[in-house]
Amino acid sequence: MNIVRLGLRRGGLEIKEFLRQRESVVFTLAFPVILLFIFGSVFKNTIAPGVTFSQYFVAGMVASGLVNTGFQQLAISIPMSRDLGTLKRLRGTPLSPISYFIGKAIVVTAAMLFQVALLLGFGALLFGLHLPKSATLWLRFTWLILLGSACSTVLGIAFSSIPKSGRGASATVSPIVIILQFISGVFFVFSDLPKWMQDIAAVFPLKWLTQGMRSVFLPDSFALKEAGHSWEIGKIALILIAWLILGTYFSIRTFKWAKE
């Protein structure tokens, strides 16, 4: 289909643009590694038998990487493109918004794959990170990344209609992401958080992404320490799919190429 074909083309073009923006490449790809370095150097404790904080933290970093590269990046950059007139020009062509969305999903997924490779590489080299051992876990890791990227992309596009300007976008989006990271078990062990905070976090996808990532990086014995005393893989998939559908619906319904 033409819409998909153009979406793939846009994805290729956006990856090319992304790679040429040195600052954003370094920031997007290296930031999680730097955080891992800081946290891994400060917290050398183990949080459960055989589970270092670094190991726990990597799961959280991969999950919040999905939120940063997709949701946060798009919710800020799309209003900026809208201010610059980039989107208005696209609106004047026969390009379908769906192709534009597909292109965004592709660049987000590609950036995510780079980021994960870098994070896991550094983690394994410097902090003795244990990589998943079974094919099942790698498979789960893959669908979590793909579903997470797609979910994060559509939610970023949907959210991009809310800020009135590119300048306001960063101020609106960044606090939301940081708060979500704190309450979703990225920087703290989730089960240590107060119950009410856990309940709030459980509404949003980041909590489920971090939990899914923990199921990949932590030993199965750790599942008992989870809020639901199991990894809840089926529930994770359902909740992410629900957010994906919701995000897609709002992306299509509310997407604005230009300010009227």
Binding site: K16, E17, R20, G85, T86, R89, G92, P94
Partner: protein, 285 residues
């Protein structure tokens, strides 16, 4: 009454912002294959009108047909209709990290009947800059890239909003040549401009818009009774600059010549410029 054969036909167009009429019952008809210029001061409703024609904005009342379709919901589908139009926006700063060639080639994929991208780059005079990143282009070069992206899809109508802002005189002449070539190939061109010399050089017909309405539509030569306006004869006599406004400059000159004898110092005969006529029409003179 709207004609199916017109490239653009607008009747009773109205658009209100916060209780104020930006466009107040505007009528317009652009023929296929002509260069049509819209002139008007800032805030006259030019941009609003053009953006309604381009399908960027909705209207509050009136009928609009562009290539026989309503831009707000074309019956053939938005994508199909957009395949037939080209838009050069006033300002578009995008994709600074891509090269000219990459940008034009990419946009070519959007259209069903795209022109050859390399030929289009040549047509707008950017062949030397084909491998340059968009960020490194000068203002005028960037504008030419905008034009390349506007014409890449072989549009039946091309919308040009202030196309030569920031051009040096040479680039402007070259650009006018390009627009005439497109017209000669059958493209209808709707141009908004602040440069009256540009409208005069390019347009087959011009419309003057003020306060959301069309004041007059005419050829640049006949706008505002320009063709029949009195000529202004100026000369020096006895160390003083004299002038006479007359319908019969030849007769006047004969008499003047007989009175002074020999060369008349500082003699000039001028008709009102398009700018004089225009400023008179919008009440600025």
């Amino acid at each position: 009454m709207t004609s199916q054969h017109a490239a653009i036909s607008v009747t009773g167009l109205r658009k209100t912002y916060a209780g104020k009429d930006a466009v107040a019952g505007l009528d317009l008809e652009v023929h296929r294959g002509e260069i049509f210029a819209i002139l008007g001061p800032n805030g006259a409703g030019k941009t609003t009108t053009v953006e309604i024609l381009e399908g960027y904005r909705t209207r509050d009342a009136g009928d609009v047909l562009v290539l026989g379709e309503d831009p707000s919901h074309p019956s053939s589908g938005d994508r199909t209709w957009r395949n037939r139009i080209g838009i050069v926006l006033q300002s578009a700063a995008d994709a600074p990290d891509l090269t000219v060639k990459e940008t034009v080639h990419h946009f070519a994929h959007y259209y069903a009947k795209a022109k050859n991208p390399d030929e289009v780059i040549g047509l707008v005079g950017l062949s030397d800059k084909a491998s340059a990143k968009v960020a490194t282009l000068s203002g005028g070069q960037r504008r030419r890239l905008d034009v390349a992206l506007g014409i890449i899809g072989s549009p039946e109508i091309l919308f040009l909003d202030e196309p030569t802002t920031g051009f040096d005189p040479e680039a402007r002449r070259a650009f006018w040549g390009l627009i005439r070539t497109l017209r000669d190939e059958g493209t209808t061109i709707l141009l908004t401009t602040h440069y009256l010399d540009e409208a005069e050089a390019l347009a087959d017909r011009v419309a003057v818009i003020n306060k959301g309405q069309v004041l007059e539509v005419a050829t640049p030569e006949t706008l505002g009774g320009r063709a029949t306006a009195p000529a202004l004869v100026t000369w020096s006599e006895g160390g003083k600059l004299c002038s006479e406004s007359t319908q019969t400059p030849t007769e006047f000159l004969k008499a003047l010549s007989a009175r002074i004898g020999g060369e008349i110092p500082d003699l000039a005969i001028t008709r009102p410029s398009l700018e004089d006529i225009y400023l008179g029409m919008i009440g600025q003179l």
